[in-house]
């Protein structure tokens, strides 16, 4: 099985399991008292949000290693992680407003959590734009690693900004200094979903990694350079 195929399989399995999460969420998990059915979006929204931040941290770590080891695999992984992170950020930025409209009565407000997520999305876009702007592969990898490392260190600031700035968005329930505060079944469903998203991340990254391998192979043969 090629790498690309393996990635595709993992992704498909993850998507199937995501279906299972929703079966569980809709049938076997209690309705939230205040928000009703809208709260069900939580099981996509939050894991996607966590992996948006996670993908940035992993790509930063890959960047640090790259700067010392100069291993092109690390750079390929970083690129893949950035692309998947962008997708996850998009998911957060769509599910958030979908949820927000019934709860807050507006799609979007400019509070710290929402804005910082938007800027994390911009960071991904900027990262990918920069990769596009540098032609020389060695230089590109190094520049990308530098920006990635900076991005990794920015994530905690973005994550913690909700504690400092007045915000409409719920405070962290799970990733916070004290213990998680979530009713049992909800927590279980959520953890299940987090696992599924982890699998989804692995699957998508594997696929993207395979794609960049292919592209490099084509370029060394002397084909497309544009």
């Amino acid at each position: 099985m090629t790498l690309a195929q393996r990635g595709r399989w993992i992704t498909l399995v993850a998507l199937a399991l995501l279906g299972a999460v929703y079966v569980r969420a809709l049938m076997f998990t209690p309705l939230e008292r205040m928000q009703g059915a809208a709260q069900k979006i939580f099981y996509i929204h939050v894991p996607a949000a966590i992996w948006t931040e996670g993908a940035m941290i992993l790509l930063g770590l890959a960047g640090i290693l790259f700067l010392f080891l100069k291993d092109p695999r690390l750079d390929r992984f970083a690129e893949a992680s950035a692309e998947v992170g962008t997708v996850f950020a998009t998911i957060v930025l769509t599910t958030g407003p979908l949820w927000g409209k019934p709860i807050w009565g507006t799609w979007w407000t400019w509070d710290a959590r929402l804005t910082s997520t938007l800027f994390l999305f911009f960071l991904y876009v900027g990262y990918l734009l920069m990769r596009g702007a540098v032609r020389e592969p060695g230089l590109r990898a190094r520049y990308a690693a530098v920006l990635g490392v900076c991005g990794m260190f920015l994530v905690p600031f973005i994550h913690l900004s909700v504690f400092l700035f007045p915000t409409l968005h719920p405070q962290p329930i799970i990733l916070k200094p004290s213990a998680p505060s979530l009713p049992g079944t909800m927590l279980e469903t959520w953890l299940f979903s987090l696992g599924v998203f982890t699998l989804l991340y692995v699957g998508l990254v594997t696929q993207r990694y395979a794609v960049s391998l292919l592209r490099e192979a084509r370029q060394t043969v002397g084909g497309d350079h544009a």
């Binding site: 700067l67 710290a112 804005t115 910082s116 800027f119 994390l120 911009f122 960071l123 876009v125 900027g126 990262y127 734009l129 920069m130 702007a133 540098v134 032609r135 060695g138 230089l139 190094r142 520049y143 690693a145 530098v146 920006l147 490392v149 900076c150 991005g151 260190f153 920015l154 600031f157 973005i158 913690l160 900004s161 504690f163 400092l164 700035f165």
Partner: protein, 226 residues
Amino acid sequence: MVELLRQAWAVARKDLLLEFRTRTAIVSAAVFAALVLMVFNFGRDPTAVATIDLAPTILWVTFTFAAMLALNRAFQLELENQALEGLLVSPLNRTSLYWGKLIANLAFVAVVEAVGLPLFVLFFNVPVWHVLAPLVGVIALATLGFVAVGTLFSALVVRTRFAELLLVVILLPFLVPPLMGAVQLTARLFGGRPLSEVVGYLKLLAAYDIVFVSLASILFRFTVDE
């Protein structure tokens, strides 16, 4: 270490000398600041909006622009003078180059802020004298952070194809924490709130400075070396 600092100073001194000769950047930034303040002044309907509510925002919009102008110049100056290549072939330590540019940028932004602040007081009649010391501290803290990141990034993009564009795009997410912190702090200061209320923000700014100044000093050499 002494050698590092000596070389950094040589670079900074040269930048400041050039700036002193031409005064281009500093005066345009200062006039820009005046322009912003003036526009606000005209636009504002004094009966509708209390000055004090707007003041922090206006102050920081002004300073951010001044800083962006400075950053754009820092490496552009080398390109215009065809000297960047010369710096790169020279044995100049890369950390020295970074610090030199950082010092020059900070000096530059500091002068603009020193011009902008009195203008601001003049235009908006905000009573800053009783909070001057802490205000200057806040300005220094916030400025250091984003100038440090900006200096690193301006080196990162200078040899890419769309340098200016990229600089703004990738810097934007990194401006959010210091800017948000600075605006909130300034608002509290003008509002005469007790210091205890703002410790969180101060910590944020300080943490940001420490993290990113160190990070940039370490990462810089990867941006210029092949």
